[in-house]
């Protein structure tokens, strides 16, 4: 079977595994679901009411039946109702996802705008002081946790410039583009820093590799300028590993930036997951986690397929 088909065939299987994993994980949480759903109000239920709720949510059935019901609901787009929000889980996800998507895109743009030129430049200056400087910065950038960058950015802004990032109500892009960008730029920088550092390192490494290839040396010896050789021959090939790395990082970011969204009070998917876990809102945890895992796997699949399509040298034998 070709690599493409095998990769596509495995996808639904792994998704099924993920759904079983999430389903069981949630049921391992101590305490019964009714008490967890209603919190302290659960104590005020009469035995009859408790019984009725148990039947209503299907909790009197065994796990297999419960799982199949949940799975059936998934196929109809029914992820259940969130107790804390009083809304369908799918609706909550669809409301929050645009913010997370925008944040992930902005971070990726920042990372590529900084990382790609820095990496290519460093490769052309290999082992000179400017290359060393780029490498040191990249190494430090890669070691900065995003929440440390976020806190330092807030500190520098507030102490150095006397401004505080807007953290009140979230302004959607279509309502007020400038207000929205002002609100999103710091979180995007916080998430984009380590990402940019990783892009710098990988693009430098890829460029160095390619610049030492015979065909590049041949092109240089035929009198083509350095600039022409880099743009025409080296860069397109160096972009392949950058694409892979960016895709995987982007997939991570689509899962929501739990801490950065919390620091900047942004109502994205990361915030929802964290709140749902803290509030023990199981339907919501189940739904959002599944949604995130689905996106993450889908992006990884697309990256793998694009990689295989772009670089025919890669032979896929046994899975690594």
């Amino acid at each position: 079977m070709s690599y493409f088909l095998r990769r596509l065939a495995v996808f639904p299987l792994v998704m099924l595994g993920v759904s079983i994993f999430v389903f069981i994980a949630i049921r391992l949480v101590p305490g019964d679901a009714i008490t967890a759903m209603l919190g302290t109000e659960g104590g005020m239920l009469t035995p009859a009411q408790r019984e009725a709720l148990t039947v209503y949510f299907g909790l009197d059935q065994n796990w297999a039946v419960q799982y199949l019901r949940w799975l059936g609901g998934l196929f109809r787009g029914d992820l259940g109702i969130s107790v804390t929000y009083g809304q369908p889980v799918l609706q909550i996800i669809l409301e929050r996802f645009p913010l997370t998507l925008q944040l992930a895109l902005m971070s990726m743009v920042i990372a590529l705008l900084i990382g790609l030129p820095a990496g290519v430049y460093a490769a052309t200056q290999a082992d000179r002081p400017s290359d060393l400087l780029v490498r040191v910065f990249a190494m430090i950038g890669q070691s900065m946790p995003n929440f440390v960058v976020a806190l330092l950015a807030i500190y520098i802004l507030s102490v150095g410039f006397g401004v505080l990032p807007t953290m009140g109500r979230y302004v959607p892009f279509r309502e007020d583009p400038f207000g929205n960008l002002a609100q999103m730029i710091l979180p995007a920088i916080a998430l984009g820093t380590a990402f940019a550092a990783a892009v710098t390192r990988i693009s430098r490494a890829a460029m160095l590799d390619i610049l030492s290839e015979d065909y590049v040396r041949t092109a240089r010896s035929q009198g083509f300028s350095q600039r022409y050789v880099i743009w025409r021959h080296a860069l397109p090939n160096a972009l392949i590993p950058v694409l892979t790395l960016s895709g995987v990082e982007f997939g991570y970011l689509l899962g929501g930036a739990v801490i950065v969204e919390q620091i900047f009070a942004l109502p994205g998917l990361g915030r929802v997951v964290l709140d749902a876990i803290l509030q023990r809102d199981y339907a919501l945890v189940q739904g959002v986690v599944l949604f995130i895992a689905f996106n993450f796997m889908l992006v990884n699949l697309l990256v793998d397929l694009a990689y295989a399509a772009l670089d025919p040298r890669i032979r896929y034998g046994d899975r690594p």
């Binding site: 993920v18 070691s143 739990v258 993450f296 690594p320």
Partner: protein, 279 residues
């Protein structure tokens, strides 16, 4: 190949060794309780003191010594990181080796299980596990171990698959070596280098994940100090007491940087081809 000597000759490796060495000394002193002050003792007369005097890195809102808390916090972070990555490396390697060696159904089951774990972004999987268990240090260790096990499984399985078909393993079998002997002596021997590199880099990720969990209040529980909690505490006081932010931030960054530098250096030493590219 002498790894310690080679590390000392590698410039990034040298810096990494110094950083991790200094932090490890601080961590051990912190864990042994040999800190300048009691990390939990509150000095009401010395709240939010700037660095200087008997409080080298200042004090927090409760008048607790930041330096002492950092030392214990680093000790605690390193303990979680080493334990969790140790578990992940052991379990992951055993899974990867046995999957490669026995193949068939076991290989399929083990690798699909790892695929399921890899379908989650790291922090999300850790959060999910913390939700099932009680938040705290032991849970952090377990959660981080689960998150990074698949990586070791893959690192061990790939080379083991290709080693399995090489002639020296066939030779060893012909001479009547037992499976277990071949697995431990030959395969594990060849895997030491990639596993060491992965182990060191995973320590950096584990430190980040631990700090993230405690930052969210789902790792080490107060009043015990941890790097993530200290950063979280600094949030509302950073203008008044920037030392509460700067020192823990610097320590986390240095720790992650140190392990990253060591990991990169080890990779260069293990695989000289990557030397020019990634150093």
């Amino acid at each position: 190949m002498r790894i310690p000597g080679a590390l000392l000759r590698h410039s990034a490796g040298r810096i990494g060794l110094v950083i991790i060495g200094v932090l490890t000394v601080a961590a051990v002193l912190g864990l042994l309780g040999l800190t300048p002050h009691d990390p939990l003792a509150q000095d009401r007369l010395a709240r939010l003191q700037p660095p200087g005097g008997s409080y080298l890195m200042g004090t927090d809102l409760f008048g607790r010594d930041i330096l002492s808390r950092l030392m214990v916090g680093v000790g605690q972070s390193f303990t979680v990181a080493f334990l969790s990555v140790g578990i992940a490396a052991t379990v992951g390697t055993v899974l990867g080796l046995t999957a490669a060696w026995f193949g068939g159904l076991w290989d399929g089951v083990a690798m699909r299980m790892m695929d399921v774990l890899l379908a989650f972004p790291a922090i999300l999987l850790a959060l999910l596990i913390v939700a099932i268990l009680e938040a705290g240090m032991a849970t952090s260790v377990l959660a981080i171990a689960v998150v990074y096990t698949p990586i070791f499984t893959r690192v061990a399985r790939g080379p083991a698959l290709s080693l399995k078909t090489r002639s020296f393993v066939d030779a060893a079998r012909t001479f009547g070596s037992s499976r277990r002997y071949i697995l431990t002596r030959h395969l594990l021997g060849d895997l030491v280098a990639p596993l060491t590199v992965q182990f060191t880099l995973a320590l950096a990720w584990a430190l980040l994940t631990e700090a993230a969990l405690s930052f969210l209040g789902l790792g080490t529980q107060p009043p015990n100090p941890s790097l993530g909690l200290m950063l979280s505490d600094s949030r509302n006081l950073m203008e008044m007491a920037p030392w509460m932010l700067i020192f823990p931030a610097a320590v986390i960054m240095l720790a992650v940087l140190g392990f990253n530098l060591l990991g990169d250096a080890l990779r260069d030493i293990a695989d000289p081809r990557s030397r020019r590219a990634l150093s």
